[in-house]
């Protein structure tokens, strides 16, 4: 099995986890909706990396197939998200997510 993956599995997962946490921090901290979407994209790619590494461990193609799924999902999500961002900038005159926070109990 080792011929398929000469880098230890843990190292790849540590990198993927670091990417995931970076993205999550970005989603929580950033106020500009474009940066929030970019951070989401980083999280998606962290999942893709984890899947590729997991697939390499078992020498199966499944991990890479899941990665392609994730790419397609991310593209579909961004297509809709950018439409929403356009409308946000038009109706709220701002890309700041805090400006779109009018609903409260």
């Amino acid at each position: 099995m080792n011929f398929a993956l000469s880098i230890p599995l843990e190292h790849v997962f540590v990198l993927a986890a670091a990417l995931f946490c970076t993205g999550l921090t970005g989603v929580l901290v950033r106020r500009n909706v474009m940066f929030v979407l970019m951070s989401l994209e980083v999280m998606m790619n962290a999942c893709g990396l984890a899947f590729v590494a997991a697939g390499a461990r078992w020498a199966q193609a499944d991990g890479q197939i899941m990665f392609m799924f994730i790419l397609a999902l991310a593209a579909a999500e961004v297509a809709v998200a950018l439409g929403i961002v356009l409308q946000l900038s038009r109706r709220f005159d701002s890309l700041d997510v805090d400006s779109a926070d009018e609903m409260h109990s």
Binding site: M43, A50, G55, M66, G83, V97, E102
Partner: protein
Amino acid sequence: MSHAWVNSVMPHLVLTAGLMVLLLVVAFRRSHALAMTSTFLILVVAGALIPHSLAAGSEEAFGLIRVDGYGQFFSGLFLLAAIVTVLISFRYLDQRASSCEEFYMLILTATLGAMVMAVASHFATLILGLEILSISLYAMICYPQEGRLPLEAATKYLVLSGVASTTMLFGMALIYAASGSLSFSALGQPVDNQSENYYWLGQGMLIVGLAFKLSLVPFHMWTPDVYQGAPAPVTGFIATVSKGAVFAALLRYAVMSDVLSNASIALGISIIAVGSMIVGNLLALLEKNIKRILAFSSIAHVGYLLIALLVVAALDDPEIARETMMVYLAGYFLMTLAAFGVISALSISASDQDTEQLADYRGLFWSHPVLAAVLTSAVLSLAGIPLTMGFIAKFYLFAAGVQGALWVLLWALVIGSAIGIYYYLRIVFTMTQSESTDGSVRANAIPVETIVTVGVLGAAVILFGVYPTPLIELVRGLIGAFGA
């Protein structure tokens, strides 16, 4: 690949083909009525093919999906919810968007995604169905052309749902790394000690992601805002189809992968369940907006439903859990759709926001007696009053919980329901009060198809509450004859 396999996914195929047809129809002729009628027909045909698909045999195709009585029951429920949504959206959208045709394609894609989740037995199909459903919902939420609240709701849902999906995906990658399989049934135990950590961390992340999607406490913060901001027919669709699909998939996953045999996972889910029942009901007491009340009520109901999930581990008998889940969700679908149907009907000619303040509902019993009666039956059913569907559903849950000896959860269920009665009855009480002075909401006439739709839903809530045998026999027949 055999011929039987094609027959067993016929409803899904019809929905997909119908979507293409609708796309072409809209390209050549833009007509709201035509788009609505064709969507209605596509959904009805897909629903009519469900018995046919079951007769084709329950086969696990490519290890990706498993078409059985359990999955197809939920597919039928999702199609029913979609039909109701189509009927109540028609006039509502007419007032709010200049081109409404694409909305019906989004309903079809969202329903297709939910139906894929109902039969998914593999991580790839699960995430694919979930994303088809969620991405369609983002666009449906912000469909009205005016107003800022739908857009705010769509943005919040987009970001939080994205975070939930990635959390689930990362969990799936960890489980795959530890067990070497993406299929629910082959998810073995982790191969070695080092993999064990990956495996349980992955299961934890997967459950957190699903809890986000189900809006369980402590991941519930987005729910009231999305429910309030989304157009009322779409809110009804989210409350039923999106939650039902996640639950259908979650129970199948729990049964096939045996994840609940781990004591700490089961304990974590129990804590989430108790928290959702209590917190959901308590926060609903503070609200004066009926959509937000129903949002918190849905958090509580999803908490109740987790009892059915935990019965799997407690009893080691998935049949009881399946039956409870199917009966409860069928009831929950009917009463929630009835409630949001009434809200949509009253909001048809409301300007910027829906008719959602409790004060707007004063005197409804005199101005719109039918709508008031339907809303009363829906709300009483949500509270679990006898002679309504909600009572039968809660009784089922209670019986299953007693068999599984889940005493703490049952106490939370009793306390939660007791708190709930207060705010549910407040809605009924408001409708009997004398009418507010302006009465602007009342003046408008309600279209016939909306009255008939919500009337049928309200009648079904009472009818199945008085005489639930047909539903229970259907559920038992589907589980018994077509296996799982």
